[in-house]
Symmetry: C2
Subunit: 440 residues, 2 copies
Amino acid sequence: MRTLAQDIAKNIGGEITIKGWLHKKRLLGGLNFISLRDRSGLVQILVEKGEEVEKLRGLQIGTILSVQGNVIEDDRAPGGAELHDPTITVMVEVTDEPPIEIDKPISHKSEHLDTLFDNRPISLRNIHEQAIFKTKDIVCQITRNYFKEHNFTEIHTPKLLAEATEGGAETFTLDYFGKQATLAQSAQFYKQMMVGVFERVFEIGSTYRAEPSATTRHMSEFITIDCEMGFINFDELQNRLGDLIITIVNESWEQCEPHFKSWNVTKAQLPDSAEDIPRITIDEIHEMYFKATKTDYRGEDDTHPEEERWICEWTKKNKGSDAVFVTGWSAKNKTFKFYHKADTANPDFAERADLLFRGVEIVTLSMRQHEYKKLVSQLSAMGGNPDAAGYAAYLSAFKYGMPPHGGFGLGLERLVEKLFKLNNVKEASLFPRDINRLAP
Amino acid sequence: MRTLAQDIAKNIGGEITIKGWLHKKRLLGGLNFISLRDRSGLVQILVEKGEEVEKLRGLQIGTILSVQGNVIEDDRAPGGAELHDPTITVMVEVTDEPPIEIDKPISHKSEHLDTLFDNRPISLRNIHEQAIFKTKDIVCQITRNYFKEHNFTEIHTPKLLAEATEGGAETFTLDYFGKQATLAQSAQFYKQMMVGVFERVFEIGSTYRAEPSATTRHMSEFITIDCEMGFINFDELQNRLGDLIITIVNESWEQCEPHFKSWNVTKAQLPDSAEDIPRITIDEIHEMYFKATKTDYRGEDDTHPEEERWICEWTKKNKGSDAVFVTGWSAKNKTFKFYHKADTANPDFAERADLLFRGVEIVTLSMRQHEYKKLVSQLSAMGGNPDAAGYAAYLSAFKYGMPPHGGFGLGLERLVEKLFKLNNVKEASLFPRDINRLAP
């Protein structure tokens, strides 16, 4: 029988066997101890017998051990107990010293990220590093539970597509049995088609962008939390997203507080109700930013990254919210996509909002044009060909009846990055991909 | 306030509003009724007033309606109630007749599959068709819950890889910023590396195979349920998989019985305990099949599809199990991959098992070679170059300590196909991909 590190305090006074990786070794002569790592955490082991100390001398960090010992209460030890008088058995030998130290936090300074990523299989053995990904796992769980509670159906949409119907410049192309295929830049068309079937759908899946430059905000492969729902209006859609974000922040904090604390991050501040998340127009942000900094972006179509950081700080300070909806998107410029919907009461504006969180855009949300004829004419007006094969199935969903609907795509890594206040989205990816990195 | 179809019986005697798609229309003069579809199912609506009947005349199937009416108990109606005396409002007009009928089951005969798939956005509006995908959604949920209950961490591994380190012939390649990249044929290396970090990991993600032929068993893009766990032996690994399959079959039947019954399928028969799932060697199967049919595959490395069907029928009849483990894989022929592990007590054989379910292989499972030096020598012996960049990170995980481990990959669509006793794996994919199909 094997006991996990997290359960040793339940066995105080007893003899147990634990199995795992030799994580740390301190042979000081008088006081010799090691820590052993398993999937649940660390155990501290006091090694007293001379022959056991001798056994340890030649062992490298990473050696797989089975350790039998007595559990002694000790408030200073992780988990409130440690093992004494161990008998140590080597299960798997390791002869080489690991390329990086794993028993203390690894530097995330931008100049050290390549070392971190190059050594991922080893650097992730660091408990501090794992905190990010154990939380990411929980965030996925919370998100799926949220969608299931609200009657969404989980779908799997194809990532191999015949044509890049959205955008095109940032698309990966490949040979598909002699034809050209592209990798999906989003689940946009497919999730909309599925509104016609299941009304409410979600997917947590891979997304591909051939981002031609290395930035702290972009990867060429990432995970998107996609959602789309029918019979909803713009306001309800924003509240749905706001409610999801509040749920993720609250529940991840409940379940992962020690992980966040190990990174010295505080819980994001959000109102109790999604309706109270501030909604500010692009023009208002330009105006406020100009007044505050004299930098003039007034009249521009989109917000600038420094404005996004600034408005988040302002909103946190003045409205008690780390999140803010940017609204007031024009329906008359290039930010308006053919599948977007203009506000019926105010057709100069799109029913679109971006959600900024801790200084960065993590979600784009919009109502979609659900009326077939208007959709076709918006597509044509923007230079698309409604008769092209790539649009056939998509448009057919509308031709044969689509309700008012909208949805959003939330970048999972960006969200996790911001929950941990990291500086680069790649730090929230197990194996990040960008223009310079395709391995490991 | 909108009431869902599934909730109307809670409102007997009351007046409600429902919203959805016009699903069926019967205007017979004396008895006029329609059904309306929403995400929860169908509602039957008896239309009596002349002006409302007039409104309906021109309406196409698929029209989005809002219907206010009185809920009347009726045991014959779906849900035990129907709407009477409705006021019908058209929310979204539809002018064209849908290309396929959606109010009765659509043919899944092989010659009709193209029609089914070409019209996916519409054909999936069929309730009968939806049953497959609502069950697939539940199967994913059951599977994740199972893994979470057993302490697995969910991971997301990259699908864009530098090299095709496994196989190669069936790999899609693409241009990645001037370099060549491939699409992941499996999460094999990555999930193993993550055993060194989290011990137990799972992923439900996309898998790509450039399958050069169109069969009923293969797709070029599909979803794999991947799992890998450390500190486990071959027998425990088979029991873990068996337990998962038993859990999926039992729980999906509990939650989706009406979906299965709408396809006239019975619940798969499985023993109560995973330990009682039959385990039969390849040689035994060849021998039994020869005795039964006089077709002689004795001495061959692998089982034939007809043997797989035959042994499943035999096992069901004689052992009461729709599932059977095929064991006795040689460690000395091409079925043995470099990362497989031979049985220590009997090195001619691999610690590998395939799980057959209702006549088809749905899982390959194996213990992996976890000792660095042996792994390197197995790789070299099979013509791989341990110094190639593609192996660097993978091998480093072993160099710095990996416990005994094993895992499996379970094809989600094959599993769902078999739960519904479909004839083609593509029927269990929303948007199937094969050599001939890249759209919609």
